[in-house]
């Protein structure tokens, strides 16, 4: 059986599992409700897309990792606990295909939950905001749904990187109960620890301006924030904001995703063999 066929079968199973998990629908409603509440309450809906992005950026830095933990922490530990990984081990299913499929399935769930919520927020802004937000093509200086679309894409890139970190952390522990602690701990270490390390580095004079921009790109939250400032919010102001390098930030998020998944495959292989 080809690896592609195995992968496709495993991904279908992940998506069907997610589609039949009622909790995810509830989570989607809560996330959409929260974002809509913040949008309307913060006044962004009446003002435009960029003010909405500014209103939502900080809450999303907390909300997206929380969603990633909720949908990712028990996926692999549950399969391990049920003996399903041991059973799959007797089929032509490699650890990389298994971890990859679980990741893609959970990333799709996060993308659906956060993506739909932000799409709804975008629709509300389109209906409620001032008329000059309907511009689709511009080089800079005008609020636009395209900018909000970029915000959505960057948010999903950030969220899917955190899902990979959560999967890695969940494999490192023995049970589903401890997996949630490990997942939350890993996210806190990566998010809070990374930013705290940068802050200390700045205070100690370790970072120059150039190395600081590089370092910011390799902490997921900073990379996300930098990408939003540079590719969404910064477009409204003349010139680049200089907060972070978009390329380094994208590379940082992809590195967190790939590195975490690679480590997860290695860890799973070590656990089952």
């Amino acid at each position: 059986m080809s690896s592609l066929a195995v992968m496709s079968t495993l991904i279908r199973r992940e998506l069907r599992t997610a589609a039949r998990t009622r909790g995810y629908y509830l989570l989607g409603v809560v996330v959409a409700g929260t974002l809509l509440g913040l949008t309307v309450g913060g006044g962004g809906a009446a003002t435009g897309y960029i003010p909405t992005v500014v209103d939502l950026l900080l809450p999303l830095e907390v909300l997206v990792p929380a969603v990633a933990v909720a949908i990712g922490y028990r996926a692999i530990p549950s399969d391990l606990g049920r003996g399903e990984v041991a059973m799959l081990n007797t089929y032509a299913v490699s650890p990389s295909a298994y971890v990859g499929a679980v990741y893609l399935g959970r990333a799709a769930v996060l993308s659906a939950i956060v993506g739909v919520a932000l799409f709804v927020v975008g629709l509300v802004v389109a209906v409620a905001a001032a008329p000059d937000t309907g511009v689709f093509a511009t080089h800079s200086g005008v609020d636009s749904p395209i900018l909000f679309g970029r915000f959505l894409v960057v948010t999903l890139l950030f969220g899917n990187a955190v899902v990979a970190v959560v999967l890695l952390a969940s494999i490192a522990v023995a049970s589903t109960r401890t997996a949630i602690v490990a997942a939350i701990g890993a996210v806190l270490v990566v998010v809070v620890g990374g930013e705290a390390a940068i802050l200390l580095g700045v205070l100690d004079g370790v970072f120059s301006e150039a190395t600081l921009r590089l370092a910011l790109g390799f902490v997921p939250n900073s990379a996300y924030r930098g990408l939003v400032f540079e590719t969404v919010v910064g477009v409204l102001s003349a010139g680049a904001s200089g907060y972070a390098s978009p390329l380094v930030s994208v590379a940082g998020l992809l590195l967190w995703t790939g590195g975490s998944l690679g480590a997860a495959v290695g860890l799973l292989r070590w656990r089952i063999e």
């Binding site: 059986m1 599992t17 399969d79 799959l88 007797t90 089929y91 299913v93 650890p95 089952i272 063999e273």
Partner: protein, 284 residues
Amino acid sequence: MTNFDSTDSQQHHATGDGATTVVTTTGLTKAYGDRPIFDDVDLDIAAGAMTAVIGPNGIGKTTLLKTLLGHVDPTAGTVTYTGPDVDRPMGYLPQEPAFRPQFTVSETVDFYASLVDAVVDTEELLCEVNLYEARNRRVSALSGGMRRLLAVGQAVLGTPPVVCCDEPASGLDPSMARQVFESLARRAADGMAVVVASHTLSLVETYADHVVILKSGGVAAAGAPTDLIERYDAADLWAVYDAAIDPAADDGSATTVGAPRRGDKPTDQDTAVFGGPTDSGGDR
């Protein structure tokens, strides 16, 4: 993800009684830190036969099965698969099997069936494990016994040359337990090498072609149930088990005349060959 030495995968070995060996262990030893589980176990698993591993709780039956499957690395020794070169050489029924609760019985079987190259008649398989009537029921609504039956079906999917079943009758009513053993025995009769770890000695005595009794340190005794009963001059496998595991506690329900003594060598009838600390043949 199977990890065992299959360098000799096309070379079928023959046991002394003419059966084809599909898995051979040589000097198989497992210890967790300073705690030995089993030591120097040499074992030939024959195709077309049911091999039962019995022994007290915590003695290492599950670890032995997992080592055969390649899920646990031995501390020393090798496991060599010599069966046919197929995508799925070994099936596995874990001790406490469970499946994703969101799926029905049919969907679960279909999922695993889609991972093997062979065409699988899932309805026939569900009939075989007595789950056809429950085929549209969610896994979350199954009893523990029914989940085990589902796991039995999963283990034999695609007819792997070897299937390792950890406590296949655990949690099942007597009739269902018998049915599971009958099903596995039929598979063995069709050429599959069936390895079961079980505490249900009456079923083992009835259906197993070969019994390996594990005790602390390794193999206490091995052979066909009738041979063991004859060798231990016992009434049944229960009495053999008592005598082999703890001869001092033997209450006389089986005489120990004919039982192996320290230093005894395994008989020619044994397909399990044991050496080192287990050389005594069990009376330790």
